[in-house]
């Protein structure tokens, strides 16, 4: 059995001044090298779970270990990196894509030293892996939403983390963009031997890019392969209006395999 990348042991979390837990009794093991999708409705605690894994929040009870370390330590050592749902980046900064990708690496270098050549090569490789070489010298504020998303992922992988955490990475991305995104993730996964955790309420994003799915709505409902996302499972997770959700994401019982099928994309495009 592979060593655990992230372990949640009976984790509960409650935000201050709230009268109920955002997460309750979460037991979840993310294996090294796997691509885990965490699926659930808005307000189901997905982003909270990621913040606990990043050490940005502390569990009310239970414990979280990341690569055998505390989440804070793993984050400080650069072994886990994340891309947030809503980037807080100020895009008016006169910085190029390359300068943005170099930021976390540069922040670890003493001020009187130049960024080492090996690190510069890591920056270039990260840019190439996400397919951003063509616009590496462009100002960060001149990019489209999809390009910016790629650049932020390049920034995250440039530090060579072992775990990459993505919060709602395909929000606002069209069907063709989602397919390209899934291909890019597959490339990152194979070339960098990354453990990838994706949080999303979008079934298609989860089905296309993950080996396993954990369904979360305050509590963990099930672990399954993407093709185990049956209407019954989804009805339990989303707990209401399942028909509307199906309509929104155009998924059927063969969602996982269908996502890789161009015919499915055509149908989805026609539906939307």
């Amino acid at each position: 059995m592979a060593e655990a990348a992230i372990e949640f042991c009976d984790v509960s979390f409650r935000y201050p001044q709230q009268d109920r837990d955002a997460l309750q009794g979460i037991r979840l093991v993310v294996e090294r090298g796997e691509r885990l999708g965490i699926l659930g409705p808005n307000g189901g605690g997905k982003s909270t779970l990621l913040k606990l894994a990043m050490g940005l929040l502390t569990p009310t009870s239970g414990s979280v270990r990341v690569l055998g370390l505390s989440p804070e330590q793993a984050r400080r050592e650069g072994r886990i990196a994340s891309v947030a749902q809503r980037p807080t980046a100020e895009l008016a900064f006169p910085l190029s894509v390359r300068q943005v990708v170099r930021m976390p690496i540069g922040a670890r270098v003493a001020p009187w030293r130049r960024v080492p050549e090996a690190n510069e090569r890591r920056v270039e490789r990260a840019i190439a892996l996400v397919g951003a070489t063509a616009y590496a010298d462009r100002p960060i504020g001149a990019l489209s939403g999809g390009q910016l998303q790629r650049v932020l992922i390049a920034r995250a992988i440039a530090c060579h983390p072992e775990i990459l955490v993505l919060d709602e990475p395909t929000v606002g991305v069209d069907v063709s963009g989602q397919r390209q995104f899934a291909e890019m993730l597959a490339r990152l996964h194979s070339e960098l031997d990354l453990t990838i955790v994706i949080v999303s309420h979008d079934l298609r994003a989860i089905a296309a890019g993950c080996d396993r799915v954990a369904c979360l709505n305050r509590t963990l409902h099930s672990h399954t392969a993407p093709d185990g996302l049956t209407p019954q499972v989804l009805a339990e997770v989303f707990s209401h209006d399942v028909e509307a959700i199906f309509g929104e994401v155009h998924i059927d019982a063969h969602a996982a395999s269908a996502c890789d099928d161009p015919r499915h994309q055509q149908r989805s495009g026609a539906d939307s």
């Binding site: 947030a84 980037p87 807080t88 006169p94 930021m103 976390p104 001020p111």
Partner: protein
């Protein structure tokens, strides 16, 4: 030209060179910060911190520091004002990011100003009762006083400028990361709150030394205009920094020359030159390099 006369005459050079040197120091530290102030929208925080100076000036006046002479007076005044400004900066920083800090800024600004005005008034009445000269009034805090700049002021200005620029250089990679993307810098293991506090303290230092010369109101202008000018001209980080320094230096020195030649108030002259530069920059095409 009066400027040449002021700077070369044996009688006047001792009075005017400290003004020019202190002005250059102020331009250096304000320009270095102004790019961050504009991009991270810290101008209102700068206002709050600069108005905290009123409280410090009021206490210094009540303690009778105005009656002390020379360097002792200068240092004591600056130390008290600096303490007030740093306390205000850190109080504002505790409120988190700038969207949440508005309330803190409003409280600090109103509270410190009210305290300062009351204390300065009390000190003036006490001085009058004793038959002593009145301490510097509210107006001198608002608009500063280049004419009272001494050699000690110039030394202090340069020391503060070197601390500000040195601090920014040492923390440049972390500070720029924080300023560009505060949320992500925390996720990459940097201390977001600490970086914000460092920037606030550097801002307070720059404001204290600037307001001694240009006053509270014009200190904010010097922290905004060089960055705004540079960002209109270029979209390259290094070029923007260089242009901000050039604009700041040109604005301060040009403003001083204008005030010497036309016998105008130095503070408003400096801001006037910077505004002309801003108008020119708005019309100019962006520099590609």
């Amino acid at each position: 030209m009066r400027t040449i006369e002021y700077l070369t005459s044996a009688d006047l050079a001792g009075l005017y060179w400290p003004i020019v040197l202190a002005g250059a120091a102020v331009a250096l530290c304000c320009s270095a910060l102004s790019v961050l102030v504009v991009l991270r929208r810290l101008a209102f925080i700068g206002q709050g911190v600069s108005h905290a100076a009123f409280g410090g000036v009021g206490i210094a006046a009540l303690l009778g520091l105005a009656s002390l002479g020379g360097a002792t007076h200068e240092l004591a005044m600056l130390a008290i004002v600096l303490c007030f400004c740093i306390a205000a900066a850190l109080a504002i920083a505790r409120f988190g990011d700038e969207h949440q800090a508005d309330t803190a800024i409003g409280i600090v600004l109103a509270g410190a100003m009210a305290l300062g005005v009351v204390l300065i008034d009390l000190a003036a009445r006490r001085a009058l009762a004793r038959g002593e000269p009145a301490p510097a009034g509210v107006e001198s805090v608002l608009f500063g006083s280049f004419t009272s700049v001494t050699e000690t002021t110039a030394w202090i200005a340069w020391i503060v400028a070197l601390i500000v620029v040195g601090g920014l250089w040492l923390g440049r990679r972390q500070i720029v990361f924080w300023a560009f993307d505060p949320g992500a810098c925390e996720a990459f293991g940097l201390e977001r709150a600490r970086l914000r506090a460092v920037v606030m303290v550097l801002l307070a230092l720059a404001i204290v030394v600037t307001m001694r010369l240009a006053g509270v109101i014009l200190a904010t202008a010097l922290l905004v205009l060089p960055g705004a000018i540079a960002l209109r001209l270029s979209r390259r980080w290094v070029t923007v920094l260089a242009l901000a320094h050039a604009a700041g230096l040109l604005g301060v020195l040009g403003g001083l020359v204008l005030s010497f030649e036309a016998d105008l108030q130095p503070g408003p002259s400096v801001v006037g030159v910077l505004l002309v530069l801003l108008a020119a920059a708005s019309l100019a095409p962006k520099i590609k390099a």
